[in-house]
């Protein structure tokens, strides 16, 4: 750590000798309900530079960015703009001095038009009236700059596909006369040609002298675009240097801080019998899905946002049921009509939105743990399964708390996820559907969740794991199903490359996967 700190200092010194950063953040600290997520982080942004901020999920990247953009207040440290200390009380305050953010979750209003979204909060007024003509014209020209003149500024945003919504999001940030633009995982939802577009755009921003803070966990993008890289790990600064100072291996080591081999538990023995089979299953969001889930195996499901990867889990879990095709559970054709019927068939569904759909936040740990068992199971099956020992159950998921009567809201993200897992284990499922199981969870809890999932598989559960994080999919899955445009695009064996997955996910054939590297935009 001291070695890193020394290097950081040296790098900062060489740059600050010739020019002053636009934004300088010093000693930034932040904690959420007592859990520190940032500890004394420094960050300098220079005009005309792309500064990549990397680190694992939960490393504190988004939090740091949100503090910069006035979305969250910092607990400690200060922010300087052009050498003068500033405190942003709101995103508006940050916007007014030219600091704007593109959020990972879209901040667009579905019912309003593209132009209305782009100018939200800053509508031009002429003679007391919103100048709609000007809004439309300016939006049109910004869209044209991005080569997206096909998008009409008058279209309601909810009528646009996800990738186009992202374009609107970028236009919205550009429309502010920004000096600093922070981008949070801007390519997460983009297809290949749009990524190329984003590259062009980011380069254009740099030429205009804008300071870009680029948060991404896709290392290729970082090396392609960044002038400078800062690595965060567990909320602390690990390294901050010009991009030439890093090799890929070194960057990965900085980010992960441990060899990947111990992070993901090794696969268990050979796969067992087919537990669940889909034949041509579909609904209005996914179509013609054939798949087999085997006891003891983890099937990873990859795909871009909106590809139907979550819709598949939601259909199997009964949240948004299949309307066509067959579901065969241990040899019998079944219909999954609702989450209740899924639970009764022994299917557990850990949803993507843990706080919104997985937990009753204001109820106790104990009540949450017993939720599925109490509400969904029949009296007969409860009797058959026997009494539940909540304490033993929570110990089995390695939950580090004894305050079972406390609100589940007070637990950390990792512990909350363990409660969701325990709640389903109380119903003794044979199939587990886990959607983004480690989103927003710190690295330590992540490893525990991976181990728990692998152990469950080892004890005969069939697991379907949806994830947007390729390392996690590759590290944990026995097979990987890739979804594209609501359909399965192909299935890959364990240890598939990120390129192979992305090629399928973006709609290219398996044959092209080998050439993935050549295809990627410069």
């Amino acid at each position: 750590m001291t070695e890193h700190a020394a290097r950081t200092g040296a790098a900062a010194a060489t740059v600050s000798a010739d020019r002053q950063p636009v934004v300088s953040m010093r000693g930034i600290g932040k904690a959420f309900s007592g859990v520190p997520v940032l500890r004394g982080v420094d960050l300098d942004l220079y005009a005309g530079e792309v500064h990549a901020l990397v680190g694992e999920n939960g490393a504190g990247k988004s939090t740091l960015m949100n503090i910069l953009a006035g979305v969250l207040p910092a607990d400690a440290g200060d922010v300087q703009l052009d050498g003068e200390q500033v405190v942003f009380s709101s995103p508006r305050a940050a916007q007014q001095v030219g600091i704007t953010i593109i959020h990972q979750d879209f901040t667009l209003l579905g019912d309003r038009s593209v132009a209305e979204n782009v100018f939200l909060g800053r509508e031009p007024v002429r003679a007391g009236r919103v100048d709609r003509a000007r809004m439309i014209a300016e939006t049109q020209s910004l869209l044209a700059d991005l080569g997206e003149s096909g998008i009409s500024p008058r279209t309601a945003v909810r009528r646009l596909p996800v990738a186009k919504q992202q374009v609107v999001e970028i236009v919205k940030a550009l429309a502010v006369d920004a000096r600093v633009i922070a981008m949070d995982e801007p390519t997460a939802a983009l297809a290949d040609h749009e990524v190329a577009l984003l590259y062009t755009l980011v380069n254009r921003l740099r030429e205009r002298g804008i300071a870009v803070l680029y948060v991404s966990h896709r290392l290729r993008e970082v090396f392609d675009l960044a002038d400078r890289i800062t690595v965060l790990k567990d909320g602390a600064l690990v390294a901050s240097r010009p991009v030439r100072g890093f090799s890929t291996d070194e960057l990965v080591r900085c980010m992960v801080g441990r060899p990947l081999s111990t992070f993901y538990p090794p696969a268990a023995g050979p796969a067992g019998d087919v537990v669940l089979e889909l034949r041509g299953a579909g609904n209005d969001r996914i179509h013609g899905v054939d798949l087999e889930l085997r006891a003891g195996q983890i099937l990873g499901v990859a795909g871009l946002q909106g590809s139907g990867r979550s819709a598949l889990a939601r259909a199997l879990g009964g949240a948004e049921p299949f309307t066509s095709g067959e579901v065969i559970l241990t040899g019998q054709a079944r219909r999954i009509r609702s989450p209740r019927s899924a639970a009764r068939l022994g299917i557990a569904h850990l949803t993507e939105d843990r706080k919104g759909e997985g937990l009753a936040l204001r109820q106790s740990v104990r009540d949450n743990t017993l939720l599925v068992r109490r509400s969904a199971l029949t009296r007969a099956s409860r009797r058959r399964l026997g009494e539940v020992d909540v304490a033993a159950l929570l110990r089995s998921v390695e939950l580090n708390t004894t305050r079972y009567d406390g609100d589940v809201a007070h637990l950390s993200g990792g512990n909350q996820q363990k409660v969701v897992l325990a709640k389903w284990l109380a119903a003794h499922p044979s199939v587990l559907l886990v959607d983004e199981p480690t989103r927003g969870i710190d690295v330590g809890a992540k490893a525990a969740i991976y181990q728990l999932l692998r152990d469950l598989a080892g004890r005969g559960a069939a697991i379907l794991m949806v994830s947007s994080e390729l390392p996690e999919l590759i590290g944990l899955s026995d097979r990987i199903l890739v979804m594209h445009d609501g359909r399965p695009a192909g299935e890959l064996a364990a240890g598939a490359s990120e390129e192979a997955i992305m090629a399928l996910a973006t709609g290219h054939s398996t044959e092209m996967a080998d050439k993935a590297d050549d295809r990627v935009p410069r």
């Binding site: 209003l109 579905g110 919103v130 009528r159 445009d485």
Partner: protein, 342 residues
């Protein structure tokens, strides 16, 4: 390059996926089928008495519903309007006390009282973070207590000059209906042309997204409540003119709190906010009033009238609900995009 879905061509024909269009189509259907039904019984539905009846039925409800539309659009609602109407009618009538010279001061005072109540509602909802339902229900109880402590029945007196506003007609069209129309037009302008109106829709769509985009969400909600209460205040003035005096429970007797919410929702505005508008609300008000007049003409049992009203509201909202998909979850895919996979 994929092309985005073009706007659905709606000019010159009715687009049933647009609630506003459906509302007016339904209104037309009621007027036409009503005319036939009444004619079969040997009467005339839309003679000048019929039109007058529909319009005067629409006046008070229309006024309240205009205000209610604004608060519902920004994901709030106001249950205190009915009692505020009574309070305002009393303030107006007591200050006027039969004197023409006091008409203007009385109007000013009435609107000031209304604005204050709206301001209180807005502040309670935004600063104390009390749910709008509870906040305005509490305000309604407070107003009821104040009214019951001071009044047992009508009080005050409005001068003849002021009463004329309530009764003067141009042909079959009452002046008060024109005032409603003018207010509706002003509100339409506010909601669709002014920056504040844009923010009403944004806050209703998502308070958090609006906040992150730099909208002053509290200010938007407070303004909406002030405007809603002003509309209730104007309704109070209207009743003071119609009834020659102030009447504490004229608003609650007409159930204008829930009726106005029903009219707004019937007009296609999402109760969750962010979608809808004043044009639909006026349609909703006219539908309720047309049904009332129609049932009177047909001599339908008054209890059955309420049953039909209830059914109409529920069916309408059920139809809208089928289209009110969550934009975050279900993104409509353009045909070009769906077929673009290489």
């Amino acid at each position: 390059m994929t092309t985005p879905p073009a706007r659905r061509p709606v000019v010159g024909r009715v687009d049933f996926s647009n609630p506003t269009h459906s509302v007016y189509a339904a209104l037309a259907a009621i007027l036409v089928s009503g005319s036939i039904l009444v004619a079969l019984q040997g009467g005339v539905y839309l003679d000048s008495a019929g039109v007058l009846s529909i319009l005067s039925d629409s006046t008070a409800l229309g006024l309240v519903a205009i205000g209610q539309t604004i608060v519902i659009l920004c994901r709030s609602l106001d249950l205190s309007v009915a009692l505020l109407i009574g309070l305002c009618s009393l303030v107006a009538a007591e200050i006027m006390d039969g004197r023409t010279s006091m008409v203007v001061p009385a109007i000013v005072a009435t609107l000031a009282v209304a604005a204050l109540v709206g301001l209180a509602n807005g502040l309670i909802i935004t600063k104390l973070r009390v749910n709008a339902f509870i906040a305005t229900l509490g305000m309604a109880l407070i107003l009821r207590g104040l009214l019951e402590a001071r009044y047992t029945g009508p009080a005050g007196d409005t001068p003849l000059s002021f009463q004329q506003v309530g009764y003067t007609r141009i042909g079959p069209i009452p002046v008060s209906a024109l005032i409603v129309l003018a207010l509706a037009a002003a509100t339409w302008w506010y909601l669709t042309q002014s920056r504040a109106g844009y923010h009403v829709y944004a806050v209703g769509g998502s308070p958090e997204i609006a906040r992150l985009s730099g909208v002053r969400t509290d200010r938007t909600i407070i303004s909406a409540h002030v405007l809603c209460s002003l509309a209730a205040g104007i309704t109070g003035l209207y009743f003071a003119a119609r009834l020659d005096s102030g009447s504490p429970f004229v608003g609650t007797d007409g159930a204008y709190d829930l009726q106005s919410i029903a009219a707004v929702v019937l007009g296609g505005t999402l109760l969750a906010g962010g979608r809808g508008g004043i044009v639909g609300t006026i349609g909703g008000v006219l539908i309720l009033a047309s049904l009332d007049t129609l049932f009177d003409d047909l001599g339908v049992n008054p209890f059955f009238k309420d049953v039909v009203r209830g059914v109409v509201i529920i069916v309408a909202v059920a139809i809208y609900a089928r289209r009110a998909v969550d934009p975050r979850r279900r993104v409509e895919r353009s045909p070009a995009e769906a077929g673009a996979a290489p």
